[in-house]
Amino acid sequence: MTDLTLAVALPLLAAFVRPLFNAGALRWLGQLIGPVVLALVTVILFAHWSTFSEPFAIALGGFAPPLGIAFYVDRMALLFALAVPLVTLLLWPGDDGADGARRQSLTLLLAASLTGLALSGDLFNLYVFYELAAVASYGLVAGNGSSAGYVAAFRYLMISALGSVVGLLGIGLVYFKTGTLNLAELATLGNELADPQGLAAFAMLAIGFGVKAEMFPVNGWVPEVYGAASRRVAALLAGLASKLAVLVIVRILLLMFPSDEARQLLLVLGILGVVSGELAAYQARDMARMLGWSSIGQLGIVFIAFSLPGEAGLVAGVAAALHHLVVKSALFVLAGPWGGAIDRLRGAATVSALGAGLFVLFALSLLGLPPLPGFWSKFLVIGGLADAGTALHYLGMAAVLTGTVIEGAYLLRVITTLYAPPAGSPAPPRQRGSDLLTAGLFGIALLAAAVMIDPLWQTLDALAVSGVDTAAYQQTVLAAQEAHP
């Protein structure tokens, strides 16, 4: 009963039944459903991660892959799939009442869809899970009841729905040319997708999946949504959901469009993302939107990293994505009470020293202070760029380096305000215990990663080797045909 599809099915089941547990005696049971299911899914995934030997495929519904939908489970998919329930558990919205139940079931739906995004090996199935994640996040963004939340959610819905229309056009194009949806079979038809129409399909798919991945042209929604939504929802979206969307784009890049033009497109969009994100974050004056723009900049770096050819790109990309996942989620959690104007936080370190200390730790890791993992991820990204060696890659290197300097400017502005003597008039807001606990757990994860950086790097290297190897992907998925006739 520890089949991997439970990781998608159980949260969906929990989400469906969660609103039923709202009456009277069942209320406290309702509160427990979410965390218990997520914990169970984490255990299943961790069991698979620890006993992982070589990638395998699961044919959904017992139908052999090219016909039915296949889940492809390799180290990269498992790593991201494991991160989903874990981080959702950490960022669990614990509130009660009818609306609380709805928010919790939406969070469960988001978790199920993200796990699905990580594991699925079918193009339209990825689209459906992406759409489920999108609708769940509209609900969560609009869920905190503020009028700004409604307008932000509507604008986000419009951008994402339009992106999905473009994505659907892309899928239509792919189906027109190849007649199949399974990523493995599409990988075998590489040459049919290499012509201009194929690349146009890639551009459309990239934009379709890019909205949630905060890709350059389609991330207009980020400052409004993270400014208006509640911070834990923002942490979930910025930290977790964006990474999974990036993973989907990378899977499509690796399997269907391994050409240089596609990589170059991601590199250019990444550079533009870094520049626009970091510049806009520099002039932000409230913490929530600053973190929003900063996440655009960081995801620009993730895109640049994944656009690098070969294993180096995958290792750098996964390292940058994981590091940003931990740091940005924690910063958004800290931005809960501190989300307002930055100069209102004057002297906040005296009020909650641990919160300020954690903020400094995450800021230093973002800026790449050596022992912290942020430095090693930046080391890998820029190392890959230097190895690639074309003019565009040097431009990317310059963008990432100046991006870090800009980041240093505005993060230090916040840190010095935190530690400045309190202004006295409105007392700076205090951190809540639950937020500190969550941010503290993320901090411990960061420090643990800093200590055992080398074993972590070896696992990422192994992950990259099997990730880049598309021949093995095709072989394992299409071989499943013989296994289940």
Partner: protein, 227 residues
């Protein structure tokens, strides 16, 4: 000025799409998996309507995803509109009330028919479910006062969603993959054929019906003060 720029880009996009689709050979699709599915449906799934076989059998997870998207939309709608106290609206006119009473049973039967015959004739859980939603909603339109409680709608919704997944899990319990069709296929074309697919479509139909009815009711309510 901005509109002109947008119109230019729209023209560009249209031209682009035409160029892209121009060279696609319409009418002769490669159908790499289409032909295999058409050939294998009778044996693997045993339903007359191949589209249903694809929707519930070959790509069953898509439909589960689709179901949860609809559930997410309804829940988010509930979250946004909340359970505002509905202001009593005057009853619909006599014609509306009479028509509603007459149409309600007919709609119910039509909806159920389409749901149950999903695996034989075109139609199925989604289409039938929508008709059921209209059927549940009609009396409320006629007599706004009598608000059938959201409660049992919510229970139908939750339970039918749960049955869909439980049927999937049963297959898992038996050792097959998730969402493998259960029971034997029976003779093709008969009402009782296609194994567990009709049950799945029934669950889909009920869930879609209850969900959309709830959504319609919430939309139909007026806020305390109409701004």
């Amino acid at each position: 000025m901005r509109n002109i720029a947008t119109l230019l880009f729209l023209g560009g996009l249209a031209f682009l799409l035409i160029v892209i689709t121009g060279s696609l050979d319409f009418g002769a699709p490669p159908m790499r998996i289409g032909t295999q599915i058409q050939a294998a449906t009778a044996g693997d799934v045993g339903t007359a309507n191949i589209v249903t076989a694809v929707v519930l059998g070959y790509r069953g997870l898509d439909t589960l995803g689709e179901l949860s998207i609809l559930f997410a939309a309804a829940t988010a709608g509930g979250l946004v509109l909340g359970s505002a106290a509905a202001r009593a609206r005057p009853d619909g006119g006599f014609i509306l009330r009479a028509g509603a009473d007459l149409m309600f049973p007919l709609l119910l039967i039509a909806g159920l028919y389409i749901v149950i015959h999903g695996h034989l004739t075109p139609g199925g859980g989604f289409q039938g479910g929508v008709i059921l939603a209209a059927a549940f909603f009609l009396p409320l339109l006629a007599r706004p006062g009598t608000t059938p409680g959201h409660r049992w709608l919510m229970w139908i919704e939750g339970l039918s969603g749960a049955t869909f997944i439980v049927i999937g899990l049963l297959a898992l319990y038996r050792g097959d993959a998730f969402l493998t069709p259960l029971f034997d296929h029976g003779t093709l074309g008969e009402l009782v054929s296609g194994g567990s697919l009709p049950l799945l479509y029934l669950a889909v139909g009920l869930k879609v019906g209850a969900e959309l009815a709830g959504l319609l009711m919430r939309l139909a309510q007026d806020d305390e003060v109409t701004s």
